[in-house]
Symmetry: C2
Subunit: 382 residues, 2 copies
């Protein structure tokens, strides 16, 4: 059954959030509205605006389309029928980007907030996994661990599966790494990790597991708002220069997890995966610590073994005595990093190393990383 | 030492968040900027804007002031020197409210997102407690419990103190309730509960404790984005109509906490407090379950005992065999609910019931509730 996600018109609701702020009155527009035919209508009330456009990932690549002004200064746009998915969008008002003021669902990606909505066209499609359902729920922890190597307390998000608190079982652990400029909140917020894992576990499609989502930028110990010094994140300079530090300090994180939570040890019970910079870190960390991880996932960011050092490290990692059970590369057909993913895949095949390659549509985007997590999580610890 | 919180100009940082979205270039403005004299400068670049104003809780009640356009279309405003605090603000551009696009720090209150920043003028002042410092950190859990009474799984935020994971100690529990239209995320996000508790515990000013922050709107089982059906929250109809259900279902929450976490039982080890609607619920829940809570806090929302039923319930609660060790009423001098707080205080004094009354400046606002939590947390379990 389809969900109507954003209901209840707020008729002139007084948003008197605090006495010192100007009162806010919300115009009676509903936006977005998911229609019975799976089209979606966006509305924005601004009688003074000269130009209102919309940008969203339901539109073809980088398209920006005009919204049309109707009576009462309400601008609107209706999409084609959409498949189930988590969609991001924003308005462009007189040339300036802004969020949809009628929609309070927003996600932060690095330093930018974007309006979003989820829809599930039918149970079991992509969008369905990103929504909360009436299934047993795990817990999301925001906690801190100490890294001697980095000389700091660092914040980490950890998913524990349903039943963890009251049970006695030990669980395997997936270490899940974010991309450039991101932080320990990214996979839970933009990646919908909690919902995906809860739903996959409820369906029996994934093993119950812990998912450990650390901060992968070595000079940031916590997401903005939670660090000792607040800062504005940026993608600049974080493309690869955290890899060595994260690689060297990873044993501190594993030691913390394995001494603090009820988890199984050994490569059979450890997976590592990441997106973009986090994919390169998964490559590097697993090459630097052969035999540590039995399942390795590179989402849009595999590093080819194209130097003698990388070839040797990969060879050590692929030694049959310690080789991973799964070496998984996922990438979008339109992603600029596809060439490197293919290079690593081809090199592995040529060397006879086990490798799985998964290509989806689209580019270097969260909608692909949510899919890769959904696919990868079903393949590990089995 | 003063913190400069928002640093690092992002010079033309390409925010290519996703290939399908239009690229965003960020203008090189820093906003807000905390100046050495504790004034704060806000900047907003929009050469096409006709009018730009700013509203913020550093301005006198409900004032909206003009920003001044400078060269290059950058509008700016500089405050008077400010004390340490968490400040909320927004811009009003051509009559339309919007957040500061140069500041990624935003807080959601009910259905509205507002830009914020924190500053600490000196260690130990209010603002200092709301920031993360290099002290031992507790953990924030987002988990779910089942309420038979409400027939639903419900999401709850729980703070566990530093050392909880690896220790053996049992801890007392503060149940901390949000206001109308709020949810289980409010106290952690707007209330800065984690930072306040970490800092108070590090200074030895508060006992290590768990803080349990449930959803106090009985027909919402989780915050928006985490509920089975996504919804837009509203303050309408949530002013008091959850009280009976929350009162009746509270034993389900206590049973969950006491069977799941390492906590002490008995009224010596249970506190309940809340803001606004949550204050009324703290009144109601503690009257309905006399002897359950040893410490009761009403932040801007005490309910007078002005009916025979309420008088009798309060009398049962204040029976010396089960009476609370602390019955604490906090309210702002400009708050419309002050009259009820005073009524309850005066009634208690007249009856000889122990009561503590704390009056601060200002009205029905989060900056008061953070103060009340900071004060109340130091008084309980001692």
């Amino acid at each position: 059954m389809k969900k109507l996600m954003l209901i209840a018109a707020l008729l002139m609701t007084t948003l008197a959030l605090q006495a010192q702020q100007a009162l806010q009155f919300r115009a009676p527009v509903i936006s977005p509205e998911i229609n019975p035919d799976n089209t979606v209508t966006f509305r924005y009330r601004n009688p003074k605006a000269v130009s209102v456009k919309i940008s969203g990932d339901f539109l073809p690549d980088r398209t920006v389309v005009d919204m049309v002004e109707g009576p009462d200064g309400v601008w609107s746009y209706t999409t084609a029928p959409l498949e189930g998915e988590l969609y991001l969008y924003n308005f462009i008002v007189n040339g300036e980007r802004r969020n949809d003021p009628a929609n309070m669902y927003m996600n932060r990606d690095i330093a930018t907030w974007t309006s979003f909505f989820t829809m599930s066209a039918k149970q079991g499609d992509k969008g369905w996994y990103y929504e909360t359902h009436d299934v047993p729920h795990g817990t999301l922890l925001k906690t801190w661990y100490h890294s001697d190597k980095l000389g700091a307390d660092r914040r980490v998000s950890i998913y524990t599966p349903p039943g963890y608190e009251k049970g006695k079982a030990k669980y395997p652990v997936l270490y899940l790494l974010h991309g450039s400029g991101g932080d320990e909140d990214a996979w839970a917020d933009l990646g919908r990790t909690v919902q995906i894992l809860d739903n996959l576990i409820a369906e029996g499609k994934a093993k119950p597991m812990l998912v450990v989502m650390p901060n992968g930028v070595f000079y940031n110990n916590a997401a903005p708002g939670y660090a000792v010094n607040m800062f504005q994140p940026t993608m600049a300079n974080s493309r690869s220069d955290s890899t060595v530090e994260i690689e060297q300090s990873f044993p501190d994180l594993i030691a913390f997890v394995e001494s603090t939570y009820r988890v199984e040890k050994g490569r059979k019970n450890r997976a590592i995966a990441g997106l973009s910079m986090g994919a390169r870190q998964s490559c590097a960390v697993s090459r630097a610590h052969p035999g540590t991880f039995g399942y390795i996932g590179m989402f849009s960011g595999a590093v080819p073994a194209d130097t003698p050092e990388a070839e040797a490290a990969l060879a050590r990692q692929m030694d049959p005595k310690v080789a991973p059970y799964l070496y998984w590369i996922g990438v979008g057909s339109a992603d600029g990093v596809r060439v490197n993913s293919l290079k690593l895949k081809n090199y592995c095949e040529q060397k006879g190393y086990p490798v799985e390659y998964y290509e989806s549509d689209g580019g270097h985007v969260w909608r692909n990383w949510r899919v890769y997590l959904t696919v990868f999580a079903q393949k590990i610890f089995k």
